[in-house]
Assembly symmetry: C2
Homo-oligomer: 264 residues x 2
């Protein structure tokens, strides 16, 4: 049974519309309410496949009869509130470009950190939401579940990071807002970090046992406190160029780990 | 000797200011004039290190006495025109966020394509400038010089792509606006492309001889015409997630090629 949308909302004074707009644009509002917004069919589909609960759905009037929207609506629990917005109002709040105009408000999970004895990825103040999302996407692809983010890392559940992550967030345990000390206290596996101060390249390291990869700030790299506890590895750059983008560097590390374990 | 800036420009009616604004924002204007703009100390430094000629330099008034700017100015050929803009005017045209306010107009190179017998990277309608820039950065890092871009690929010399490439453009031969047929006619090395329709993972392929890697459109992948001529390879995704971001996929392919040749 397809859940039934409510009446048409046309005013930007509507309480829900105001809340959604705030959630889409302000990290502070997302933290205050413990909620975020996923935009577009693709992310909603990813959330549904992970049985992730929705607070509510917002639809543009003209999107309502789109076959993919109808298909999504049949998969929702029937009690999910669905709001229909006039096209103009929807367009005024969305943060994505044109597409199928559907979004969902969801709760941001706040898992509590326990001891980590398995592979994990530590994001140490990675600033750019695109980089964070891309790293989450690669981590999900290779099957690394635990992601630990120090406090200045871009929010993993922001609309931009969700978009770059393409739904990877729903497959991961993401611990945010951690201090460096909390990371060190909980991660029991050996730490590895890329560094330009070593000549030992990644391919010369044995990565077969569980490890914690640390990726750092785009400009400053991994902080000293973490670096001192980590094995430094080099990603070779025979042409002597600039260091690699952090999402690229991280993905190369995660995939070399996978290769050594499964294809060596 | 430090080149001498001209008098202060405060009007957005100034011909050069109007041109630079157009070059920063419109691909059509860049193509028409055969020029583009590089913003920030980092890119200007990269261009200087590659002996890349400048058409002119634009500076914000307050940036003039910055030590890094002074250092850059001493390295310029003395005949390089330098315009100083009022801070407000500079701020109104820049496309980067805050930083050291210096930019340079440069010619966009238009190398003519000859037969390619060596490694190369083919960008087959990769849409996003961030992805194109990141792929160029990785190609430069591993030492792949020749980049062939089909016509719908994001412009390699746009300000956004230059920013993502971090100066890699200056180390590469980038052929833009090619038809698929031109690519096929000129590339003499075997073509390889990632595909979700094969089970043979990249680690099972021998990548030691020169090859041409093809990376495709973010949504549609590599076009049929190129795919039919290519060996399909899989990037393993044990967790069965979404396909990887194209910049990640491409970087993994380029680095696996490097690994097999230098670290096997």
């Amino acid at each position: 049974m397809v859940a039934n949308p409510t009446e048409l909302i046309t005013s930007d004074k509507n309480t829900t519309v105001k809340l959604v707009k705030a959630l889409l644009t302000q990290a502070r509002q997302r933290n205050k309410h413990g909620q975020t917004v996923i935009e577009g069919i693709h992310l909603i589909d990813a959330a549904l496949r992970s049985d992730y609960p929705f607070v509510q759905i917002l639809l543009a009037e003209s999107a309502h009869h789109h076959p993919e929207v109808q298909q999504v609506l049949t998969r929702l629990p029937t009690y999910t509130p669905i709001l229909t917005l006039s096209d103009a109002l929807y367009e005024s709040i969305r943060s994505l470009g044109t597409g199928i105009d559907i979004m969902a408000v969801i709760k941001m999970p706040t898992p509590s950190l326990s001891m980590i004895h398995d592979d994990c990825l530590i994001l140490n103040d990675v600033q750019d939401s695109g980089n964070v999302g891309t790293l989450l996407r690669t981590a999900a692809a290779v099957g690394i579940k635990n992601i630990l983010c120090t406090s200045a890392t871009a929010q993993a559940w922001s609309p931009k990071t969700l978009r770059a992550g393409m739904g990877a967030q729903f497959a991961l345990n993401i611990y945010e807002g951690l201090s460096v000390q909390e990371v060190l206290d909980h991660v029991q596996t050996p730490l590895f970090a890329t560094s330009s101060h070593t000549d030992t390249v990644i391919y010369q390291h044995d990565l077969k046992k569980p490890i914690a990869w640390i990726m750092g700030h785009e400009g400053q790299g991994v902080c000293n406190e973490l670096m001192q506890c980590a094995t430094p590895i080099a990603l070779p750059q025979p042409n002597g160029q600039e260091s690699l983008n952090v999402a690229i560097a991280g993905s190369l590390c995660l995939y070399e780990t996978l290769r050594q374990r499964s294809y060596n």
